[in-house]
Symmetry: C2
Subunit: 533 residues, 2 copies
Amino acid sequence: MKIGIAQINTTVGDIKGNFDKIISNITKAKAENSDLVVFPELTLTGYPPRDLLIKKSFVKKNIEVLHQLINFTENIAIIVGFVDEKDGKLFNAAAFIHHKKIVKIYHKMYLPNYDVFDEKRYFTAGSTPCAFELKGVNIGLTICEDIWIDDGPATTLSKNGVELIINISASPFHAGKEKIRLNVITKQAKENNIPIVYCNLIGGQDDLIFDGRSYVINSSGELVQQSKAFKEELSYISNIEGKDEIKFIENENESIYNALVLGVKDYFRKNGFKNTVIGLSGGIDSALTAAIAVEALGKDNVRGVSMPSKFSSDGSISDSLDLAGNLEIPCDVIPIKSIYTSYLKTLKIQFANTKFNVAEENIQARIRGNILMALSNKFGYLVLTTGNKSESSVGYSTLYGDMAGGLAVISDVLKTKVYELSNYINEAKGKEIIPVSTITKPPSAELREDQKDSDSLPEYDVLDPILKAYVEDDLGKEAIINLGFDEAVVTRIIGLVDRNEYKRQQAALGLRITSRAFGQGRRMPITNRWKDD
Amino acid sequence: MKIGIAQINTTVGDIKGNFDKIISNITKAKAENSDLVVFPELTLTGYPPRDLLIKKSFVKKNIEVLHQLINFTENIAIIVGFVDEKDGKLFNAAAFIHHKKIVKIYHKMYLPNYDVFDEKRYFTAGSTPCAFELKGVNIGLTICEDIWIDDGPATTLSKNGVELIINISASPFHAGKEKIRLNVITKQAKENNIPIVYCNLIGGQDDLIFDGRSYVINSSGELVQQSKAFKEELSYISNIEGKDEIKFIENENESIYNALVLGVKDYFRKNGFKNTVIGLSGGIDSALTAAIAVEALGKDNVRGVSMPSKFSSDGSISDSLDLAGNLEIPCDVIPIKSIYTSYLKTLKIQFANTKFNVAEENIQARIRGNILMALSNKFGYLVLTTGNKSESSVGYSTLYGDMAGGLAVISDVLKTKVYELSNYINEAKGKEIIPVSTITKPPSAELREDQKDSDSLPEYDVLDPILKAYVEDDLGKEAIINLGFDEAVVTRIIGLVDRNEYKRQQAALGLRITSRAFGQGRRMPITNRWKDD
């Protein structure tokens, strides 16, 4: 039996577009004499459809289109994900369609409702594992979370004589996830002594990036085939047990970089944007963001803007121009001095007898935000924000200033990782993309005289592990101190993280590359008097 | 038996503060010779604690403090809500503590996981109804959602001989909710022929406003006692069946107004803010917002700012000053003309040969946002945003402009309701608070020459019902047209609603007063190609 694994990039809500993509993959698979072609979870609706699922017309349409698919299954079988409805209840479902007939419909039994997942908000869990026969092979069908459950559907199915398990998934990427996922599937295959074909979604959907990497595992738990990472692919597998084990290769920085590129590319494409404008400060965050944008959108679609103030260093302009030169993108220089002066004049009465403070600092950042948005509104560019996760965690950023924009490219990347990725890009490209002077100079917001990040924050190699422990691993204060950090520093940092929740809840959507990003995966109250002492 | 119903205002995360409030209510109830005092759902943690529940140290602390409570129960019984933990699983729990002993712990059996509720994200459902005996009375204990279930725990308990049901709740307000809630509890009492004491939370927690209104219902389903709306109260009930039925009074505008006032008051108080600054445009939205702010914070804590541009009408300043006069608050007049001119000069090269468009409009709105935030940063004011739900729905607002601020007071209030509430305030106060000229003039953003809302949008009495149908009732296009609206208008409006999701996801937290507010209760993808045709 020849199985096609259609690792496709669906779009949420685009039922017609997803349908067309399914048809085109069926046609190709037929031409290759496939017996079966498998698609990712919720193929027709895209994943995750979120509250679109509450719209009756949406669910109805997806079922209508499922029935249209039937006509395209002459001489081929397909497994396609859709939303089923029965007695007013919704199910995360998969249909096995063969010879122009829906042979089986399976309802996902295990619904994830943690982290970024809200499946119990919409779906009722199925109660029965699903098996069917194709060309004499007894096949078990599972959906995503089902395969993560010990003694779950995979075990039941193999005990009941199933010879192959197919899993259709929409498993989002985070750094290290590919290995975790492989271990889970490998374990299931080995423990149940059964081969597994695992078909995963690829593509960016808002904050989530699906990395594909569909796996084929033999009954000894060996990886025998893997689809591409971050790319659509229709691959085939025929004789699972007869294939040799292949090597599983991990490269964290490459993965993160490709994830971010795909996240940007798909956000633009799926939302109908083509061009971006990015504020370049001469610092490493905006440089990395611009490099990712150029990779995702092409150099002709990226415009840099340097907006120096009287507090900007010489390097601010020259490093931005160097970066723009390396990336071959235009860079306007738009000084903000005269606008800044006009604010101070306008606010002279109100600000009389007050000292320069964060108010004046933020006026500058917000002038820059206003200029970028004006260019966006005038020319249809989407503004990319450039803040990293360390800043976002402690609130070292200006709402409506540097936080203004439609997509936060590196808001889930800690500063130390920003450096790693920048070096990775320069190495991978074999030339200086991110200027070396940008990498080596001390980070600064340049909103007051001689300002350095280190005036307000601990060094990033101290800050970042504390943030990882608090934000990503949910450790309490005591547990973090026990990792070897100074109590006063830890207390101060976690206080900053808690206090700045209001800023993050107004931030642009940020691409998720860790197991715990800000956004829908971390739902903190703003009004929150919890102090972990 | 005398039961105290302690309808208290807890704060999320403030376990110590909530503990103190519990103790003080126990002390008072003891002085009144109560046998039992009942507190709202999740009393110790506040509701909803959201992802604080993922922090082990948080859950641990709440259990420690529960045990400290035991010492305060000599000669009195209490029912208090807390988070229980067993074998690594969390439960939304209530403890019945009597004579310095935890007699029973109940685990909530029905966990809401829809709308603004995410309880299945954190909690495991309990499996056993809970009853205990106090002074010879067999009492059943339920938590919030439990009482909303037909043939649920209330029925099981009454079949098992329970004589009184106590329900501790955190049921958030929306317009009309008090009646829905009363009907549900009445029905349970009547069908199960059992009296019910229903203790609800009061207070603002981010977007949610809990209205209290704790009910006592006799076994015939008659309302015999009701606690205050939107206020803390410790009330007592002794002889439920011996009490006469009282009248249930509804007043929608009064309720919404009080809800918004409490929402503002508690957001400031619980987050440590005292003062606000509000941009006054002369329009009705900022006028209503300022009136609510003055009621919530006191006139000495509210500052208005009028920021006229060359497109502002004369009424813009004079109506703002009239409003400020009526509210007895200061109002700065800060013209933005010179700042606006400096932006245009600075962007002269980039904007050469382009026509005045939304870019220039939004520059003005963002200058105003920057000025308000500068005053906020300089003086510690929290900025209130003034956009209504009609604007927010169709994106008739400027990100980082009029959307800049910490709390969106009326973002869940449709424009037609904004008028109603303004008239309500003038009537309730018996004098002109919102200037009549503000109420009668045609709404305008005043960002270009002679602009009117009606240039871009249908009249609000057409727009608002379409928005209600689409946003609040989740109707599809066809269903909305069938209500009697023009197809072209409906198509255009729902397209605008969909397209502006990105703006709303960067909006300030908005107080929820309808059954479907933007925010955590409506989780739409931004990347979304669904078109309902």
